[in-house]
């Protein structure tokens, strides 16, 4: 039973460029959440996708966008990269949460993005 897989594992980009990160959820999961984790910090919620729509969004600018495909996989796109976007980007999947957020998240190992 494959867990959450993310690609690529590492990425180096230059300021101003655009990047796309990919995530395949755990088998049977239909909800994907994305988090940004700066070094030494806790994960910060970016957004959550369910049924191919963005359902929740954290405090991130519009440069951060995403997509969910019919097979539940997801992409995170970041435009006009800034040095401050350097971080570990984590994808997490879960079953569609009922009211109360009762579903534990299953995380991938992340994509380490470095912006120079």
């Amino acid at each position: 039973d494959a867990g959450v897989t993310q690609s690529p594992t590492h990425l180096i980009k230059t300021r101003g460029q655009q990047v796309t990160l990919r995530c395949s959820p755990k088998s049977g999961h239909d909800t994907v959440s994305w988090y940004q984790q700066a070094l030494g910090q806790g994960p910060q919620f970016i957004f959550q996708y369910y049924e191919e729509e963005e359902r929740q969004r954290g405090n991130f600018p519009d440069r951060f966008s995403g997509h969910q495909f019919p097979n539940y996989s997801s992409e995170l796109n970041v435009n006009a990269l800034l040095l401050g976007d350097s971080a570990l980007y984590l994808c997490a999947s879960s079953l569609e949460v009922t009211t109360g957020g009762n579903s534990p998240l299953h995380f991938g190992n992340g994509t380490r993005l470095t912006v120079t």
Binding site: G42, F45, Q48, R55, N59, V97, G101, P104, L105, F107
Partner: protein
């Protein structure tokens, strides 16, 4: 923004000792979860405690929740070197998204 804050930020103990980490949060919750993260890797879910529960056990883990004080604690008994990791609490803040705290970095020395 962080919903929760863990305390202490860092903790160093010897193998066999117990490790206690605390989490405080700001708003009402439906449940609270604890996760572990080994260096540079994804987070692993440890335990979920609902707002109407006061204590929960899982193996060497014991979690308590005090909703009146908006706080939780994670106790790891008989620590092992393999328990070395960062530990995060996460709350749902009455929504469907999980918000993570700042984390406690635990070092267990052999």
């Amino acid at each position: 923004s962080q919903q929760g804050e863990e305390d202490p930020q860092a903790l160093s103990i010897q193998e066999g000792e117990n490790a206690t980490m605390n989490c405080s949060y700001k708003t009402s919750i439906n449940n609270l979860q604890w996760y572990r993260q080994n260096s540079g890797r994804g987070l692993v879910h440890l335990i979920l405690i609902r707002s109407n529960e006061r204590e929960k056990h899982s193996g060497r883990l014991r979690v308590t929740l005090d909703t009146s004080k908006k706080s939780s604690s994670l106790l790891i008994t008989a620590s092992r070197a393999a328990d070395t990791a960062s530990y995060f609490c996460a709350t749902d803040a009455a929504t469907d998204k999980l918000i993570f705290g700042t984390g406690t970095r635990l070092q267990v020395f052999p």
